[in-house]
Subunit: 333 residues, 2 copies
Amino acid sequence: MREVSRRAGVSLKTVSRVVNGAATVSPELSARVRAAIAELGYRPDVAASSLRRRDGRTRTIAAVLDDLANPFSSAVHRAVVDTARAQGVLVLAASSDEDTENEREAFTAFTARRVDGVVLMPTSADHGWVESERAAGTHVVMIDRPAVALDLDTVVSDNREGAARATAHLVRRGHRRIAFLGDLETVYTAGERLAGFREALAVARVPVDEAPVRMNLQDSDGAERAVVDLMSGREPPTAILASQNDITIGAIRALWKLRLQRDVALVGFDDIVLSDMLDPGVTVVAQDPAAIGSMAAERLLRRIAGDRSPARVHVVPTQLMPRGSGEIPAPGR
Amino acid sequence: MREVSRRAGVSLKTVSRVVNGAATVSPELSARVRAAIAELGYRPDVAASSLRRRDGRTRTIAAVLDDLANPFSSAVHRAVVDTARAQGVLVLAASSDEDTENEREAFTAFTARRVDGVVLMPTSADHGWVESERAAGTHVVMIDRPAVALDLDTVVSDNREGAARATAHLVRRGHRRIAFLGDLETVYTAGERLAGFREALAVARVPVDEAPVRMNLQDSDGAERAVVDLMSGREPPTAILASQNDITIGAIRALWKLRLQRDVALVGFDDIVLSDMLDPGVTVVAQDPAAIGSMAAERLLRRIAGDRSPARVHVVPTQLMPRGSGEIPAPGR
DNA sequence: CTGAAAGCGCTAACAT
DNA sequence: ATGTTAGCGCTTTCAG
């Protein structure tokens, strides 16, 4: 910048004004400065600028998601990046892998870079530590799961309703022994979906204790084993509700291997590529990760811009996509 | 930092030394400083630090990928992030959507933040402009596709060999009319895979002009239409080689809809979730996006650390995964 | 081993 | 409308 000012024969401040598009520069000087900038190939240093700026904004936010390679998280991430970019804001990202240590380490690394805010898909642990960061001026929006006892903007799917709708869908086809497959029970979404499942059973007057529930499934392999185990039990379920994409994939693998895919009904959470091409197609409760991501980014950017309104929980609707597996009737029906 | 120094009753510099783990601080002072840091909840400002540092490193890199929500790109991205994090380096990212404007805009935004380097999945356009950034000290590693006429580190799959192997696999089963489905012909990988396809045909003495080639397919819908069109032609192919994940998905949809999935052989590029569960399973040439991403990040970090060795092209092997669709023999065989 | 002063690239506050 | 000075939070240089 100094070089530019010398070359254009003006003061540093004038160059700054031109770079920042201040109106109070004469066209002539402005042109001279622009020419110097072009000749020198000068690029303003955003970091240095934000160091001195009154608001201290770095125009950078961060996203801490479960797994950047997972279809759900990566769709969320892309939406966050696109929404931020529209306002000239850049996005740093990291995966937590559902591990509190990773989560906190990533968060800390981001705040050390003075990001203006963070979109956080929180692990199940306590997030009291977020408060101190918020006090330091870093805005936070929770995504996919609310933070326990924290007054923060939050964007989630209608997990409970989605699961309840899927369950009612199965009950309507005569199923009473419906198995629920969930991941870590400490994960908020798993709990909500289980609650929705149970609510729907209660409404339908299906004894809840008849329903086999398998929680803490870690991945698709675990889910696959759980289904094989369930189906070889004394009273195997006639339908399955799988609470998440990896788990749905495991359930699919198990049913197909057991050649039960036409006999046992299946509804999964999260849409899965090609699941409509299977025979039968897999009925799912689809979430809208792009909507979740852009909504979260928008709230965050608004907060950064100074919005002081009370924190809100935004619920993004899910959609039941009947494709065959969820429409298999109970035996004898 | 100033507050910390006052509280600990030492100079600014001593605090700096403690924060940076310099050995030349007496244990006593060091302890006092640490206490003050804890009491004040002080967090060093990495950006301010890199502003003054001699090497000017921001310990931040960037990734410009085709589409952060695509399974291939997101797997690459995750590997880049994980590799960088192991060295305390953060990652900014953006999608180019195969658009040169987007690509350059993202790249420029990143260099304006003074990232130490960029992992770039280049669009097909000329990348001469990258040179000026490199001259300014930003390191660049190309990924998935080499830059035309640029002497840059590059990490790619063995596209040509992978396609040739897949083609030979089909020829071995008696196919002679094999269709090739590619995306934008300007995209490097599409060209390489087409070249591998043609090479393998030539080796097998299959007249290349018999092979229907459909390029410039934009997405799975386009691929689906192309296959429907091909199959309704006068001399429909007996086998299909699809050059990329979205295109493979389109081909799958078309064959299944036409109920030709057991009659027409199909090999796709890129692995696809659940493609092994279809009937028949879909044979693919699987790439290794995680290896590509971590290798690219490693080279980039090494360059940033000062490695001045000549640029290298690193080729990551692909793997043919026979699952059924690629093993369908030609009619009358 | 410790500290004082200078300055990284930029903008705020106040001149002029 | 333009310039001057100070200083963001930190590290460097150099002096003790």
